[in-house]
Amino acid sequence: MMSVKELNPELQSNLPGVSIEAGFDTNDLVVNIGPQHPSTHGVLRLVTTLNGEVVKEMEPVIGYLHRSKEKMGESRSLFQYQPTIDRVEYLSSFYDHLVFVNCIEQIADIPVPKRVEYIRVICLELNRITSHLLWFGTFLLDLGASTPFFWCFRDREEVFTIFENLTGARMMYNYFRFGGVNNDLPAGWLEEVRAFCNHFPDRLDEYEAVATKNPILMDRTKGHGIMTKEFCLKYGVTGPALRATGEALDLRKTNPYSVYNELDFDVPTHTGCDTYARYLVRVQEMRESIKIIKQCIDKIPGGDGGALAILKKEVEAKTKEAKKNPEIVVPHWDKDWDTMGKKINLLTYKPPAGEASNFVESPRGVLGCYIITDGTPKAYRIKWRGASFSNLSALPELMKGHMYSDLMAIFGSLDVIMPEVDR
């Protein structure tokens, strides 16, 4: 925390013997930032009390994007509810789906084939890259650098085309199912992903060449918005913001889910605690994601989708024939190659009564879901825990004593997405 005196020593020296507070009539000024402000990445209103240019108090007003995500789940069947999950955290909607289907899989005890787990991990990590890319572009745009914004969108579009080839949609995927995925990989999809993984690190080097060592960026981020570990834990701040304090809390490592314990990757941390540290952690996370995806492509059971689809058709046909004629040899089919662990009629699916909660590491932090089912097609209660809400709640205390012009740099570094806050 610094006072006005510390902020402007030159002005102080020009007015000898007069403190700035006494020299000017410094009535507090209340400024309404938002709700429609280009830099708030959504609809957020910040009621800010300013003393000169220094933020004295700040109160976020949220709820403009409230669409009753939790209540909607109680009035729709689980499968009917699934597409609406996409619309909440639209920058990384694979994660919301994963939490949701994992909960139902726990309740109904549905097995998940190995191939599905690997497909899911590839999707998740690609989604982390797209989410961080959008953050990277907008964060620098808020600081005045417009070039990286276009580069990020170029690369994001490339990943979206990969997603479109797999799921049919660019952002609202609706791809994961209870115990499996909607569709197997199309022919040649893994090669597309590999090609992207091969050239993306070079692109990332280009981004870093423009931004990381830039003196303007460093001046505006280094030493600003310092969040200590204790502060983060107090507010429940998770994700890259917490890892930038040196605390290596990453659910992929600490509570491995899916197949993350079979993969070799590091959890990038930094001890800077400031805006710049959060920037460095996120950029490093994109590199780690590429590392994970490359391993998944090599390890995925069954390999590429094209050959496997042909084999599957053959197996199905031969199995039918073999019932009539036992001499026919059915080709080998591994259970790990399935795309559904258990056949489920989505139209009439009723999970047994029970409850389950699940947490995953989303690009923004810990994302959780808690579901109670009562044996009907609908859920009795669904509760979501989004990282954005907790991360945003830390902003008022974080901003106290900072210059107004630092607001967008500090707020941008938290990577908050408003629909997830309001739900």
Binding site: R76, Q80, D86, R87, N165, A209, V210, G223
Partner: protein, 176 residues
């Protein structure tokens, strides 16, 4: 200038001071940035000049909904209401059907309000006869909301078009 730049004892400044001349480092970084931007000039543009150049869409693209027919141009839809039941948007799909003298289903009305459709693809997944499917058509803009409510005639593809769709996407229909 950063707020702590005058304070050499500040821990964050310690690194900068150890590295030597901050100004020289800054100029080097900015020059490197400019060089990277210049590298982009000879590269090919990634944008498409739509509508002259159309994007290549995948076979699984979630576009306009349509009803496929049998090869002989008769209706494939049996009016089972499965698509209407899994649709997350209320009353988006409306179906009227009755059974004729041979107890065969006859669909008299099938409307989809494309203006409210969220293109999730749930309906295409539960259709027991693989009738309701998505096309690659994404240019759906119209002059009024009413024009976006498509009736059975707008939605139904001819037998030939349906066969082409099935051939293109390697589809073996469940019932024909």
């Amino acid at each position: 200038m950063s707020n702590h730049s005058h304070d050499a004892q500040h821990p964050l400044n310690a690194i900068e001071h150890a590295e030597g001349n901050v100004v020289l480092e800054g100029i080097k970084a900015i020059a490197q940035g400019f060089a990277t931007v210049l590298k982009h000039h000879p590269r090919e543009a990634v944008t498409l000049e739509y509508p002259e150049v159309m994007p290549e869409l995948s076979d699984r693209f979630h576009g306009r909904l349509s009803l496929l027919s049998k090869s002989d141009d008769t209706d494939l839809c049996i009016g089972c209401q499965a698509c209407a039941r899994v649709c997350p948007c209320d009353d988006l799909i409306q179906i009227d059907m009755h059974r004729d003298d041979d107890k065969k289903p006859v669909v008299t009305r099938f409307t989809i309000d494309m203006g409210r459709c969220i293109f999730c693809g749930n309906c295409t997944e539960v259709c027991p006869v693989d009738c309701i499917k998505m096309l690659s058509d994404f240019e759906l803009a119209d002059y009024s909301r009413e024009a976006l409510v498509l009736d059975k005639k707008d939605l139904t593809l001819s037998g030939q078009e349906s066969d082409e769709w099935r051939a293109k996407r390697g589809y073996t229909p469940t019932v024909l």
